[in-house]
Symmetry: C2
Subunit: 317 residues, 2 copies
């Protein structure tokens, strides 16, 4: 392929906002946004671990941005800028770069963000994509993981397990509805929930490691426990069919990663207003449990009995 | 090694500032800094390309931070926060993580910065370190690459070629002064020059790819040319001895990378004030050339004759 600077000029500079200074400098300049806090997140994706080396470059780019935007949304932040660090094998082709650039563009259009900078280097290893994403909340309104309180209701947006089913289908060569594959290859961050969380949530996290694991992160940071009702967990018709058809246990819906839904807690006296707001704005989130004083996260059935959990979610190392 | 969350708790959380929220969230919250612009840079370092896999973890960490701080300094920005994305082989040892954490701590202490967040993932490839560093300038005072003008004087801080000589010594098993090895393994960013650049520089870049290449980046962004005087290029006594002893050409001082000095341009009517300021504050930068209307960067000797250049600097791909 062309040199490093040609790559930047051709595939990245057209995506840059004014803060990126045409990508001619090694840094971005972001003007102060008075009365706002800046929320910054950074996620690294590595081929063979977060995606397959032969996945479409467009999908890899879109997913890398979605994963980071999802983290911002979970803080109640409106995403605005992002940086991309790319480590690429030297044999990378122009078509790959063009596809990657297209994927970034589609993510930009969907999330209303612009490229502000980055770095492109060679690696002897797998494709590695490091994204830093930046968003804003009105001062003091960031939603953290640490303010869930006993008695809070627990909600999750959308539905669970679709991405994990998509992955299982891909790995096992199983037939699956296209919606499941789409959720794995091109997950969408729940952008429209950022203002909802700012208004109604006491704590939140995105569902990336697996529902129970991510509820666990909130509980740990808030020093509380949680009871999750197994029968309340929302799954799509496509997921239900896939599980039945391939005789796969439902645990994939609470331990499978990469959902990029948002799990959040709400004070009891906010619940009515939240439900009303969601109905008015055609947003879907389901109550799935309650914050309690126990240690850790429990899964319970209709009768309040414990459901055995073999695996809560994904951990590196 | 311990799990992902143990790693964060043990080796990274102790380095975090208040913006990092104890690293319990997936994002940092940075309060607005009124009347300041936020300067953000991101550099990715990959084993075998930017450092050797067996380099001390402490050196790798220190270098990764220095490289990014150097980019901020070149914009006239005072560094404040940084994020680290780490892709590590699964066989990584606790001692490596402890060393890496120590290196980050030493860089923090030197540069007055704190960790704000990051991500740690597994890779099947080489150790990959992605750093995002954040600094501030008073509103509108960022020093870019694009405002060099014909007639500006060109300065470079410190001295050139030490890191490239250190690398040559390591690769060739050659004897070298410890200062050369130190410059390669543990380069220092020119922190004290950030306010100098804001006050006196019209444009600047750090010397990371090689002096002529980096002057070239400034010229390209500013749409000017430059004449660099070969005999004015500052080199240390250790570099001079190393070149003589091993019969290595002086071109390494203008094409070798990783110097992390700053090359900057100054309007002619600012030169006297700059020289005075540097003398008062015991800072060293040397005039090495002049901005002109030519195309590209020329190296000239005492008589104004062109010096042939075989290589200007490092490019990925």
């Amino acid at each position: 392929v062309a040199g490093e600077f040609d790559i930047i000029r051709r595939y990245f500079a057209p995506l840059a906002g004014p803060e990126g200074l045409g990508l001619l400098d090694d840094a971005a300049c972001i003007p102060a946004r008075p009365n706002h806090d800046t929320i910054i997140t950074k996620d690294v994706l590595v081929a063979c671990s977060h995606f397959f080396e032969n996945d479409e470059a467009e999908d890899i780019a879109f997913k890398a941005i979605s994963v980071n935007v999802s983290d911002l949304v979970a803080k109640g932040a409106d995403p605005k800028h992002y940086f991309v660090g790319l480590a690429l094998p030297s044999a990378i082709e122009e078509t790959w770069l063009a596809g990657f650039s297209n994927g970034l563009k589609k993510a930009q259009d969907r999330y209303g963000i612009v490229l502000a900078g980055g770095d492109t280097v060679k690696t002897g290893g797998p494709i590695t994509v490091s994204v830093t994403a930046i968003g804003y909340v009105p001062q003091g309104e960031m939603v953290t993981r640490k303010d869930a309180k006993i008695g809070d209701h627990i909600y999750v947006t959308g539905d669970l397990g679709a991405s994990a089913c998509g992955l299982k289908a891909i790995q096992g060569g199983k037939k699956a509805d296209v919606s499941l594959l789409e959720r794995y290859y091109r997950p969408k961050a729940q952008l429209s929930f950022a203002p909802v969380l700012r208004e109604f949530a006491s704590a939140a996290a995105d569902v990336s490691d697996g529902l129970l694991a991510d509820v666990g992160h909130v509980c740990m940071a808030s020093n509380v426990g949680a009871a999750i009702e197994v029968d309340a967990l929302p799954i799509s018709a496509a997921v239900a069919s896939f599980l039945t058809e391939h005789n796969i246990g439902r645990d994939i819906t609470w331990s499978g990663g990469d959902d990029y839904e948002i799990v959040f807690t709400v004070r009891p006296d906010n619940v009515v207003a939240l439900d009303l707001f969601m109905a008015e704005n055609k947003l879907k989130a389901t109550k799935i449990g309650t914050v309690n004083s126990e240690n850790g996260v429990e899964l319970i059935d209709r009768k309040g009995n414990l459901v055995q959990i073999s695996k809560t979610g994904y951990q590196h190392f």
